[in-house]
Amino acid sequence: MKNLLLQMEAICKTFPGVNALNNVNLNLDYGKVLALVGENGAGKSTLMKILGGAIQPNSGKIKIEGEIKKIFNPQISQKNGVSIIYQEFNLIKDLKVHENIFLGREITKNGFVDTKLEKKLSINQFDNLGVNIDPDIACNKLSIAEQQIVEIAKALTLDSKIIVMDEPSAVLTEKEVKNLMRIINDLVKKNIGIIYISHRLDEIIQISDNILILRDGFHVNHFETKRITKKQLIENMVGKSLSIDFPKRKSIIKEEVLRIESFSKKNFFSDINFKVNQGEVLGFAGLLGSGRTAIMRSIYGADKFDSGKIYKNNQEIHIKNPIDGIKNKICLLTEDRKKEGLILNHSSQKNFGLPNLKNFSKNLIMNESKEVKSFKNYINDIKIKIDSPKQIAKNLSGGNQQKLVLAKWLESNADIIIFDEPTRGIDVAGKREIYELINDLSFEGKSILFVSSDLEEIIGMSDKIIVIHEGRIKGSLKVDKKLTQENILSIALG
């Protein structure tokens, strides 16, 4: 029996506290397109990074054309015929097209780079792909679609047998997507195997031969595309994961406390309108990159926005920077708490105090004992596991770091709290504690904006869910027993 082009067998990968991949198998045949599907955090990018040599698996085997390969670094991966076209592209924008295509493997004549030959070969590739790109211009002058094609051309000149495309269509227009499909068909005719990662189910059904579904680090199922319907696909993606019991919510929702009107920011989101009531937990669902984080950051003042109005308690407020946000009793627990939420090298106490120094100082002089006392109260209240207030923030576990961030904002007396992916990277027990905290807060009358990619979590925690797709509100759903993850996902996918 002829060997498969690519076999990844029983791949396992753990990061501290998280099982990213559990015994995942992936098979790819010559001249076939395999769609790799799954929610955010399912493990797709981890699996591809292992194939690309960027990280090493804890266990498992990779066979290319029947031979076991140990891929220690990206160069080895490349040598074995694997090319990965990342979402952000790996081009050096200031260099010319042909320079990028032959980067690291420049063609030389007598010790000098033979630009003429490079350009000629580049044009050959472009002809094969049926496109017309001038190899002499800098890549930053190309459109996104053209840059993508340059990446593909580069993969071809590397004699890649396996090409992985990560969300290729996310940045293309309809016409360009059609062109991409055509190119993929041509590649397939050359016996190249393609792994196609995407959320766009219609495309997947159109272009792929097989589909592999990942969920929570496990491979759940694989199908031949022609044997599956879209509905079945969605069901499989969502599935029944280990269910977390979400704490019972008792919501007491009062009047409107925040209203956003015609909120827009070019390239990020447009015409966002919604309102939040006191005591409400408003969830925001959507795919990665749909614009939710950008919206939240603009509301808080972390980033600017182009147009729109914000009303708090029915009065217009102007938010230009975080200081304005804090002044208006809004706070944001960022997506990346390590980079943006905490000063890791400073003590927990110092982190706690930072937005609240006015509370612990008279004139300009700090009263440290007041600060310590207040911090200790929070440590007790929200049960932060910490040896002493002076412990360095870096050394806390993920969940406790998140609680530390929460403590600092609670002290600032914010009544609108924005959570952006609050339970990312936190274990099950930690997640539970955070859910309970959020419930307590909303019960006390705080209003919560809750952004999450975990559909189960959003349904479990929110009173109402707004679904964002490509920067626009696509749906607004009330949460009741009938609401399913499939409902949300189908709206989120567009």
Partner: protein, 444 residues
Amino acid sequence: MKKFINNYGMVFILAALCVLFSFLTLKEQTPDSKNILNQFIEKVKSFEKNEIIILCVGGKNTKSAEIAMELEISLKQMGFSNSSSVVGTPADLKKKLIKMMENSNYPNFIIMNKQISTWNVLESLKKDNIIYGSTEEFFPKSNLFPDFLKKTNLIAIVDRIVVIAILAIGMTFVIITGGIDLSVGSLIAVSAVVGTSIMKSMGGVNASADIVFIGFVLGILSTMIIGCIGGFIVAFFKVPSFITTLAIMLIGRGLAFMITDGFSIYQVPESLIWLGQASSFGLPNTVIFLIILYLIAHFFLSRTRIGRYIYAVGGNEEAARLSGVPVNFIKIFVFLICGFTAGLGGCIQASQLNSGTPNMGIMYELYVIAAVVVGGTTLSGGSGKILGTLIGVFVISVIQNGMNLIGIESYTQQVVLGLVILIAVVIDKSKSHNFFVQFFNKIG
């Protein structure tokens, strides 16, 4: 205790250096008059007190001068009636001896010390055949004491480093926020030159102390404005502080030369030297000033809101911004402070040199940054203590002073100092990355 070592560990190095240099500068020192007296009496106990003629010699302005005069009095009191002393230069000694010869009163004993022993007066007189008769030079046994620990030397250690130490305060502020200021050396010159120019034009040598004060204020103001501009460019135009302050360094140096046309300004009031050279309460004014400034700075950084903000900006600028810290204001503030301390340093240096010259402070930024880093402040920002900087400053001063005391050649000194800075920075990096642990793991 562990925290103390982490923050102020350099203090042990400083102590070790002091011990080292004390050891290396052990020298025979002149004992006090009582000691000499006892030794001498022991020596001449077989003689009749009235019969011997004794001369005590002391060098002008030195400790031996006091001793010589004290000895004369004590000897007379003890019955050695024919005792006299001479204090001054070798020429004075020569004159005294010739006079004593003329009065047939030539000394039997001359009480010496180490400095006097290099004087050649007796040999010279003998060569000119002016002396006849024998005289014995009495050398009291001396005790060993390190030159390093002499009071005058300890004060000199602080005095010489005062300007660098003051600049280091502002530099610490800037480095904690993750920036750097290369312009401080040339700002010294700017402040000194502006200040002394004002003093010169407002009366020159005859101006009052108020004029000195005005000159100082305007000098410091000028560097504060420059610092402010630099901070503004760094904060709002996001130009890295390295380049910004490098450019200001060139501009500042050029300005100083432009203002003075290359000359030094020495038409300055007499009261100018008060700040840099006079003493109060037994300590040089500069030392008192230094102590006060460091206490204020330490309090400011560790106990005020702005101090907290400064550490936050250096620790994680984006997280600080998102926590409501006024990042841009803080950045401008620290460069303002740095300009202020540079201006202050310029005033003190002008006072120490009693003039304003445009080539003051060349390369000082290097020593200032070295002192800050040696003192434990990391260049990447977010941590560091002012008192640590003070220790770093002293480490450098002690090394420079010690090398001078031992007599190490100029260029060797430069090599040693450069090595110190290099090693300090390496240790600094290894603290944050456990570099040596990894390194030794790799090879081990």
